[in-house]
Amino acid sequence: MPEQINWSHDFESAVKKAQQAGKPLLLDFSAAPM
């Protein structure tokens, strides 16, 4: 299990990945320190 969330920053690719995986997308609008 990863220690951190592996965030994508490419929305369109993530949508395709979500469709293929049959999972919902978790879209996070953030201002947290990177």
């Binding site: 990863p2 965030w7 994508s8 979500a18 609008f29």
Partner: protein, 150 residues
């Protein structure tokens, strides 16, 4: 709350995570913010493909509350797909795992609705109203369920 192991596991197992940062991804933040009406951070959306919002979390939440909201969102996604048995099970799981969070009374309400939608049995709604007399009686969801009392 994101570095928490329980949150990391839940997100990794159940979601495809995508983040747009107000500074680092400025143009995407504006584009997607306009698309999904997100004007504040943190705002976390659970989206079913292709672009149907099922649940919205606005503002910071402690770990347990955030995990509860994520699972509540999964239950709402199942409900939105018409998978009412799965929705009921997932709402009940929220109740079992996170009974002291704000997600609890909402999950109790929607578990009853899901059961009714799955079975067509209106007694599911009456039983849900009675559950609210025992738990979460002061919640907004208890008021909403009160119309089902016979």
């Amino acid at each position: 709350m994101y570095p928490d192991p329980e949150i990391v596991r839940l997100v990794a197992e159940r979601f495809v995570p995508v983040r747009v940062h107000v500074k680092e991804d400025g143009s995407e933040f504006k584009r997607l913010g306009a698309m999904f009406d997100a004007q504040w951070t943190p705002t976390t959306l659970l989206i079913d493909s292709p672009a149907t919002e099922r649940h919205r979390i606005e503002g910071f939440l402690p770990k347990e509350d955030f995990a509860a909201q994520l699972e509540l969102g999964l239950a709402k996604a199942a409900f939105g797909r018409g998978a009412f048995d799965e929705a009921q099970r997932t709402f009940e799981r929220v109740l079992e795992r996170y009974p002291k969070t704000d997600a609890g009374p909402e999950a109790q309400y929607w578990a009853g609705v899901s059961r009714y939608k799955a079975t067509g049995d209106p007694s599911a709604l009456g039983e849900t109203a009675r559950r609210f007399s025992e738990r979460y009686a002061d919640s907004t969801w208890a008021k909403k369920a009160s119309v089902w009392r016979s």
